[in-house]
């Protein structure tokens, strides 16, 4: 095979791999990213049925058990959303503290969480939650959040 032909094969393989990667990445970014919501955003209905992350504060006194399910209310000061989670909450789950739940909104308005995210650090607040709470004016934390 000529040098030119070999180069063509190489370039061809590279181009095929690159376009495969580009295709998969674009498909992934349009289909399998998880948007972040606070309870106020849920009323629009846009989040219905999609996998989303819901963040806010766990409302004081809202945590209860129903069978093996954990029920709690996430609030952003303006709106509340009931969350049902079939499992054990992570170690740093606390009332009046920030929480991020990943799951889907049911038509009846209950958010069914598949995952409740834990943090390593008790003073840490997820940036989206902090930002959303600041926007709603219910943020009481000591630190400003990076832009």
């Amino acid at each position: 095979m000529t040098k030119r032909g070999r180069r063509l094969i190489g370039v061809g393989i590279g181009a095929i791999m690159l376009s495969l990667a580009a295709f998969l990445t674009l498909r992934g970014l349009s289909g399998s990213v998880t948007y972040f919501y606070v309870p106020s955003d849920l009323s629009t209905g846009a989040a219905q049925g999609r996998l989303i992350r819901l963040g806010g504060l766990v409302e004081a006194g809202s945590t209860k058990r129903e069978g093996s399910d954990l029920i709690f209310v996430v609030t952003d000061g303006a709106a509340r959303a009931q969350v049902r989670f079939a499992g054990e909450p992570p170690d740093l789950f606390r009332e009046n503290q920030g929480v991020v739940a990943e799951g889907r909104l049911r038509p009846d308005g209950v958010f069914v969480a598949e995952r409740v995210l834990a943090k390593h650090d008790e003073s840490y607040m997820p940036p989206e939650v902090a930002k959303a709470l600041q926007a709603k004016g219910v943020w009481r934390g000591p630190t400003k959040v990076a832009p």
Binding site: L29, V33, S68, E88, D121, P127, A132, A146
Partner: protein, 651 residues
């Protein structure tokens, strides 16, 4: 006084690395004075190392007048963790960064290898710059020796989750990897600076890439293992930004150590190898930025400081931008690409490199996309496992599909037909694994993943089989094979085993949450789990609730216990999981909150993690492969020097 002496030594190290940088780069241009730069590198490393030892002493003595000790240690902690706390937080880990970077400078100053004098001294100079930047950042923005005006009586304690043997070792290993990649970077920039483009540059890069990469492998493995048994989430890898931050330099490092082989052996792909060396350290800095700045929402997030993030970003921009500008400047002088046959060892390695670069790009895009999307649309979002599984998965699969051919093809022109014959049995095994994956209803992607992993592992065994040659005496010949053969086999076999473990873990894991009272039992994953009793125990600096279970599989009874610990210095409870490990999977028990309302009931999370031991075993094998390859390079180098008469031959 100790802290002040430490700070002074640290400042001395900073000045010495400044001298090392200036003299090294000047000598690089003028070809004299390299020895002075090497001497400065020695001073810097001694200064940083002694400063760090003094910092360790502050921690060991629980000197709470030092801010970092007060914030991160506690007098009730066991001594091992007091010492580990030295690098278990931001300030101390930056000090460790400086120590490793300066020690790398010392090693570079001590072993010149086949490098020309100007190039060697320029690399020393760049390494000095790297140390200088890190030391300036540490002293100005995160001084570990800073004193408090009023010393508290007691420290705030290290985050209890970090009080763990794997995590005491995780940061030093990871940093050895991150900072170790600064040496290939320095060598690459030194080569560009002095226009040295001979194979000896790649030869010099190889051991450093291997050392950094092996340390990174073990560091990631330890971190992932820790996350597995300490966090109580059941999994070991979550495609979280902080995890990706360590995965990016690992991927580039993998590509680099393969391309450096081609450049060292065949002299081709010089520019690409230099680019990878630059990109590798760039990824280390980017990873540090992502972890420390807190720009990305991560489940692993640490308390962060935006000012530090800006400084690290500036370092990243300076290092990568400067190096790439230099690369563009020198690009016309690079040796012209020689071109090679697709079906050859270098062809396979080029494919591997291209594939790994694309994989890195995908992980990078997935990690940074939330930042870009939020800046553009104002919507917060996150990119998780589904994205990476559907994009990184197929591309990594392609790389693994081609990998077994590499060692079977000869340099220049490989015999594809012979390679296919050798790999025939591996192919049959892979198809069987694929069938098994489908039979267990894991879905097509999982089945393909299992097939590819099996192909990689068996393909490596097939390579060993062929290496052993025809006829009897295979074992003897194999045992006498060069270390490099075993290094390759261990790393590639490990990659296959890791793939099988990771795919099984992602696709066949199952979990169950249940509430148990003492005496109650539950069936899970073919075993019966009975809660025997719940007891209160007290550790050195915590008290805990311990649940004792008995697990029965058939007639066999095993005891298992899990704990919820409450450290006295921290409000948050932590989980100590109970794990019954097995070759086919782990039976994993984590305790939850005591169920409110129901008296005596205990929330229990159960997981079955299939093949997870394969995952960690595979990582360990890859790390061993890296270490063996490094050993082989050192031995070959020694033999060469003996042959050249530079070292007295051992009789």
């Amino acid at each position: 006084m100790i802290a002040e002496i430490g700070a002074f030594l640290f400042a001395l190290g900073l000045v010495a690395s400044c001298v090392q940088a200036v003299l090294g780069l000047r000598a690089g241009a003028r070809a004299d004075g390299a020895a002075a730069s090497a001497a400065a590198a020695q001073v810097a490393s001694v200064a940083f190392a002694s400063a760090f030892v003094l910092l360790v002493i502050c921690f060991a003595r629980s000197d709470f007048s030092v801010a970092a000790v007060a914030a991160n240690s506690h007098s009730a902690k066991p001594m091992v963790y007091k010492i580990a706390a030295t690098w278990g937080h931001h300030e101390g880990s930056m000090a460790l960064w400086c120590v490793i970077s300066s020690l790398a400078g010392l090693a570079l100053a001590s072993f010149r290898g086949g490098l020309t004098a100007p190039m060697w001294s320029a690399a020393l100079g760049v390494q000095g710059l790297v140390t200088l930047a890190a030391a300036a950042y540490t002293l100005l923005l995160s001084n570990p020796f800073a004193r408090l005006a009023a010393a508290p009586l007691e420290g705030a304690g290290l985050n209890p989750l970090l009080q763990d043997p794997a995590l005491a070792l995780h940061p030093p290993m990871l940093y050895l990897g991150y900072v170790g990649l600064s040496v290939p970077f320095s060598l690459a920039v030194g080569a560009l600076w002095t226009r040295s483009f001979g194979p000896e540059v790649a030869q010099a890069i190889r051991p450093w890439a291997l050392l950094a990469w092996s340390a990174l492998t073990l560091g990631i493995g330890l971190g992932s293992y820790w996350a597995y048994y300490e966090l109580g989430w059941g999994g070991a890898w979550f495609w979280d930004p902080v995890e990706n931050a360590s995965f990016l330099p690992w991927l580039i490092g993998t590509a680099l150590l393969h391309s450096a082989i081609v450049t060292a052996r065949r002299g081709s792909m010089m520019g690409w190898t230099l680019l990878l060396a630059i990109a590798g350290f760039g990824c280390s800095l980017l990873g540090t930025f992502l972890v420390r700045s807190g720009v990305l929402s991560s489940v692993h997030a640490f308390a962060v400081d935006p000012a530090r993030g800006v400084a690290v970003l500036a370092m990243f921009a300076g290092a990568v931008g400067g190096a790439l500008a230099l690369f563009a400047w020198r690009a016309p002088l690079l040796p012209a690409p020689a071109g090679f046959v697709v079906l050859s060892r270098e062809g396979a390695l080029a494919f591997n490199n291209f594939g790994l670069a694309i994989c890195t790009g995908i992980v990078l895009i997935g990690t940074l996309y939330p930042l870009a999307a939020e800046a553009v649309s104002g919507r917060a979002l996150s990119v998780g496992a589904p994205f990476f599984n559907s994009t990184f998965g197929p591309l990594a699969g392609l790389v693994l599909l081609v990998a077994p051919f590499g060692p079977l093809l000869a340099w220049r022109r490989g015999d594809a037909r012979a390679a296919v014959q050798v790999l025939l049995w591996a192919g049959i095994g892979a198809v069987l694994a694929l069938g098994l994956g489908l039979a267990f209803r894991g879905g097509a992607a999982a089945a393909l993943g299992l097939g590819v992993g099996t192909w990689m592992a068996l393909g490596t065994l097939a390579y060993l089989w062929r290496r052993a040659g025809p006829g009897p005496g295979k074992t003897v010949r194999l045992l006498g094979a060069p270390l490099a053969v075993w290094a390759l086999a261990a790393a590639h076999f490990g990659a296959g085993v890791l793939t099988i473990g990771a795919v099984a873990q992602a696709s066949f894991r199952f979990e169950h949450s249940v509430s148990l009272a003492p005496g109650e039992a539950v069936q899970f994953a073919g075993r019966g789990l009975r809660l025997l009793r719940v007891e209160s125990i007290e550790g050195p600096n915590y008290d805990a609730q311990r649940a004792v279970f008995s697990v029965s599989a058939g007639a066999r009874e095993q005891s298992l216990h899990a704990e919820r610990r409450r450290y006295w210095t921290s409000d948050s409870p932590t989980t100590e999981v109970g794990i019954l490990s097995g070759l086919w999977g782990d039976f994993y028990v984590a305790l939850g909150e005591p169920a409110p309302g129901a008296q005596g009931q205990l929330g229990v999370r159960l997981y079955f993690n299939p093949f997870i031991a394969w995952m960690f075993g595979g990582i360990a094998m890859i790390g061993c492969g890296g270490a063996l390859a490094l050993l082989s390079l050192v031995r070959v180098g020694q033999r060469k020097r003996v042959a050249l008469g530079q070292v007295a031959a051992v009789p």
